[in-house]
């Protein structure tokens, strides 16, 4: 028993099934792994592979139709499945805690934060003032400003990052031996995500808790975890130290997953991203050989008939018959670019925006969502929009589309002609020239119509086609987004997220648009699907000479697709320039902070610029430079009194900062300049640092 007790969490041959339609469908198949005391173990895989089911099994909170079919789960050597109700409650109260996605929903909306925290301490036997004191101390520990004030508030009065801090405080309040983090930063802004991850890393050092970290984001896992397990169709296909697995993967699935991610040096004009063909086996599917064989270019007859064993490769495991040549996996999508891009900066502007403002009025005060925004977009190019939530990205997109009216005075020009601010005043040609692809295709596609109906209607309305012509164009359109005939007869809900997004893209392209606004089009998708959609967008752009306004919080994705980038903060453009220059720097201090916050598999600096506090309210922006309240490079009083102009630093590269361009270059070459404001993280992966 001693070896079991040495592990905080141990899963042995765990199989979990969900009962759907009178049949048990396997979700987890014979899953075994252990997490040692104090260790952080990452579990990665695409949606539907069973990651969250693992978490819910450990705390025994499976949905009603789910059950553990076989196997054991041990927490501190104690078999979770055998606990009686009271023992289970005590285990939850003392040993294991869980933090999950969407903290806004995880906190009770009608109970004050203080009460929700103190009840944890009351369970531990404290009462009254003692519990309150401990709750305050806990909030201090998760670095919430004004803990006493926060105690009195309701969850909806806190920002997403604060809510997640409170959830973490609640989880850590009982000093658990195992902490389960299920996508804890998904849905948070990059800067907030970075802060929450910092917090977790910092707390880890002060706590003995082992961590099970579940995420679809490989970069986040590589930053946070000692070891990682890769889950595919409920099967552990690879496991090992994080740096080893991510740098030297031995299972074709891991290899393929890593190749789907746009890396820093990849751009749309240089090559396409790799993708994974086919689909994840559906839940409960009978798997005869290797679960990944159907999608694996290396698979042989052996793979289709015999399940591979979990090969022990010395400190790491891989479930592949051909693990030694997994990295020879041929590409599923050739990197070759089929259509040459027009040379950057040479085409004429299709869109020119000048002095655009949008003020929302309500609750007695004015909120300037977009302030004095001027930019242009050239034919066949992509303008990436980045910035935290509340920076005005979506408002700008809505202004372009005519969904909201701008304030008096601004101009939008399409192909050199003034564009009416309101959708109702635009001509059909102008409407079809400006289309949008939304983040969530579910709500963008009418669920009661077939795909054929949806696309035919778009062709009729936008392109004015009828009869034979419409049929031909429909076939062409469907082929261009790589859907097939059989997808046409179904309704949106019968398609996966990626396929739905293809339909949404096809709809936007039905009228040969000049400009397509892509509002976070891939952020709800898995990486392999995201890669396919990005490839598709890049192909369509080069083939049809369309221009994109591409909004995303994922900087690697923006970088892959964009020719120029605008960095927004509180409705203002802080930096605007060619994509590579904005990324390479010298850049605006805000851009610098955003870049350093983004988790990446490539970047290994162990320092990060931390932004103090929350993004200020657009209803009451700071005077002077709006970024001065959080700026790590603030030079002095001038930042508080005078708003800097968007100074042209170089040809076509503007930065809104009082620090001269050359000085920024010098400062940023020297690295993060102020030790007081930066966080030192432990160099978690020495092996990688040597790379």
């Amino acid at each position: 028993m001693t070896d079991i007790a040495a592990n905080a969490l141990q899963l042995d041959n765990l199989s979990v099934a969900y009962r759907v339609g009178r049949r048990d469908r396997a979700v987890l198949r014979d899953l075994s792994f252990t997490i040692a005391r104090g260790e952080a173990y990452g579990l990665v895989g695409e949606s539907g592979c069973g990651k969250s089911t693992v978490a819910l099994s450990v705390v025994r909170y499976l949905p009603r139709n789910g059950k553990v079919a076989s196997g054991t789960i041990s927490l501190d050597g104690q078999d979770v499945m055998r606990l009686g109700p009271e023992a289970l409650r005590r285990t939850r109260a003392e040993r294991v805690a869980m933090v999950y996605q969407d903290p806004g929903k995880a906190l009770n909306p009608s109970i004050r934060i203080g009460r929700q925290l103190t009840e944890v301490f009351e369970l531990g036997g404290l009462s009254g003032q003692a519990a309150t004191d401990r709750a305050l101390a806990m909030l201090n520990r998760v670095r919430i400003s004004d803990p006493a004030g926060v105690m009195q508030r309701y969850p909806h009065q806190l920002s997403g990052g604060m809510q997640q801090r409170v959830a973490i405080a609640m989880a850590l309040a009982k000093d658990p031996s195992t902490l389960i983090l299920d996508e804890p930063t998904t849905g948070l802004d990059a800067t907030v995500e970075a802060e929450v991850l910092d917090l977790i890393a910092e707390l880890r050092r002060g706590l003995s808790a082992s961590i099970l970290f579940i995420s679809h984001n490989l970069a986040v896992v590589s930053r946070m975890c000692d070891r990682v397990g890769v889950l595919y169709a409920g099967i552990l296909v690879e496991e090992g130290p994080t740096d080893v697995v991510f740098n030297d993967p031995r299972h074709p699935y891991t290899v393929a997953l890593l190749r789907c991610l746009p890396r820093g040096d990849q751009r749309k004009d240089q090559g396409r991203l790799d993708t994974i063909p086919g689909y994840l086996p559906s839940i409960g599917a009978t798997i005869k050989g290797c679960a990944f064989a159907e999608r694996c270019a290396l698979a042989t007859d052996l793979c289709h008939t015999t399940p591979p064993p979990l090969h022990d490769l010395g400190g790491r495991l891989a479930r592949c018959h051909y693990h030694e040549r997994a990295q020879e996996l041929p590409r599923a999508t050739p990197a070759r670019v089929e259509f040459a891009m027009p040379p950057a900066g040479q085409s004429e502007a299709v869109l020119r925006v000048d002095g655009l403002n949008k003020t929302y009025h309500g609750h007695g005060h004015a909120l300037r969502a977009v302030k004095d925004l001027s930019l242009d977009l050239r034919r066949g190019q992509t303008l990436g929009l980045v910035g935290e939530s509340g920076s005005g990205k979506t408002t700008f997109a809505r202004l372009l589309l005519g969904l909201v009216s701008p304030d008096q005075g601004g101009h939008i020009e399409l192909d050199g002609k003034a564009l009416a601010p309101r959708l109702g005043d635009r001509t059909d040609a102008e409407i079809k020239a400006l289309q949008i692809v939304f983040q969530n295709p579910d709500s963008a596609l009418n669920r009661s119509h077939s795909i054929r109906h949806l696309l035919s209607r778009a062709l009729k309305r936008l392109a004015g086609l009828r009869g034979r012509q419409l049929q031909d164009r429909l076939d062409e359109l469907v082929r261009s987004v790589r859907l097939t005939e059989r997808h046409l007869v179904v309704k949106p809900r019968q398609l996966s997220g990626g396929l739905k997004q293809r339909v949404a893209i096809a709809r936007a392209f039905a009228g040969d648009p000049r400009i397509v606004v892509c509002d976070e089009p891939t952020s709800a998708l898995d990486v392999s699907v995201q890669a396919a959609i990005l490839n598709l967008l890049a192909d369509l752009q080069s083939k049809q000479d369309a221009s994109y306004i591409f909004i995303s919080h994922d900087l690697a994705v923006v970088r892959y697709l964009s020719d120029r980038i605008a960095v927004l903060y509180l409705g203002r453009i802080m930096e605007l320039g060619p994509s590579e220059e904005v990324f390479a720097g010298p850049h605006h201090p805000y851009t610098e902070a955003l870049l350093s916050a983004a988790p990446s598999l490539d970047r290994r600096e162990n320092t990060r610029i931390r932004l103090d506090g929350e993004i200020p309210s657009a209803a009451n922006p700071p005077g002077g430079c709006v970024f001065h309240t959080r700026c790590p490079r603030k030079v002095g009083a001038i930042c508080e009194t005078t708003e800097p102009p968007l100074a042209e630093a170089q040809d076509g590269h503007g930065i809104r900062c009082h620090i001269p361009y050359a000085e920024l270059a010098r400062l940023q070459r020297a690295g993060a300049a102020r030790p007081a404001r930066e966080t030192s993280l432990p160099a978690a992966h020495p092996a990688l640092a040597e790379r």
């Binding site: 805690a97 009770n108 909306p109 009608s110 109970i111 609750h363």
Partner: protein
């Protein structure tokens, strides 16, 4: 608030116009077919019926606001006295029904939700639904037959002796309240159940359970308070119906509530009484809805504290 005033105004206009377009000459209706035309004209004149409609409406509504609801054509007495008495009776009956159905309905919904998809849930849900679809006069008659006549436990008429005290009145009101109980129970239980099921499936309930709180605390502290929000709104809205919409029950049990008052007035072409009665019912509905909205925002911090943000 403003909206409720507007809807009350619209209601008053409709009531007024309704009174105008109803067939029949008022003077003739009051005096009977044998009266001579001159007497009819004089009466119409004294009732102010030959003035312009706008003036008639204006003076009617102005008097109504001041508490003068006009004089009943039939009883030749101020309408307000009848309305106040009837409204009082209606409130008593509604209160009894309310006190019976709200706790039991909520309890039923909670029990059903805690046993979701098990036999107990099925019994409560299906039983409640079947009782809701039965019209009140059917359940009323069946109940009168069983409890009032065969078993003789309860008086079959709600008309209590004039010197009856509080408990006697209550005793007389149980049987009339029972059909209301049956028709509302399923409704309230179903609302509560769906609110509960949603709250039980929520992430915050999961958080509470995973904190290691005892199940009882989870349900009392975390689930109920969110689950009952929609139910409370529905219940408060139902108060309007319980007070003003009980014509059938009141007639069946010979009870002088506002429903039967309006019914009698309508059949006797007693327009001042009819108009005042309908408008009163409208006011009751509006107030009930308003109370529901206020309650909802008081109980829901997300609405209550929105202005702070």
């Amino acid at each position: 608030m403003g909206l409720s005033l507007i809807s009350l105004f619209l209601l008053s206009v409709m009531v007024f116009i309704g009174g105008q377009v109803l067939p029949g000459n008022v003077g003739r209706a009051i005096l009977g077919p044998l009266a001579d035309q001159q007497a009819v004209d004089v009466l119409n004149e004294s009732l102010g019926l030959n003035r312009p409609l706008l003036v008639q409406y204006g003076s009617w509504i102005w008097n109504f606001i001041q508490g003068d609801m006009g004089t009943s054509y039939v009883f030749r007495a101020p309408v307000s006295g009848f309305i106040v008495d009837a409204l009082g009776n209606s409130l008593k009956l509604a209160l009894v029904a309310f006190l019976m159905v709200v706790p039991v309905g909520i309890l039923g919904g909670v029990v059903a939700a805690l046993n979701v998809d098990r036999p107990l849930d099925r019994i409560i849900s299906i039983g409640g639904l079947s009782m809701t679809v039965l019209p009140e006069f059917v359940t009323g008659i069946v109940l009168v037959l069983i409890l009032g006549i065969w078993l003789g436990w309860l008086p079959i008429s709600a008309a209590w002796p004039s010197d009856a005290g509080f408990f006697t009145q209550l005793y007389y009101l149980i049987l009339p309240a029972l059909p209301l109980f049956l028709s509302l129970f399923g409704y309230i239980a179903r609302m509560t159940r769906s609110g509960m099921v949603e709250a039980l499936d929520s992430d915050y309930t999961r958080t509470a359970v995973l904190k290691g709180l005892p199940w009882r605390t989870v349900v009392w502290r975390h689930v109920l308070r969110n689950a009952l929000l929609p139910t409370i709104t529905v219940v408060a809205t139902q108060a309007g119906y319980l007070i003003g919409g009980l014509v059938v029950i009141e007639t069946l049990f010979r009870y002088q509530g506002i429903g039967s008052l309006v019914y009698t007035a309508a059949s006797g072409k007693d327009f001042p009484m009819l108009q005042a009665g309908v408008l009163t019912i409208g006011i009751v509905y509006t107030v009930a809805t308003l109370v529901a909205d206020i309650l909802y925002s008081l109980l829901n911090p997300r609405i209550r504290l929105r202005a702070d943000q």
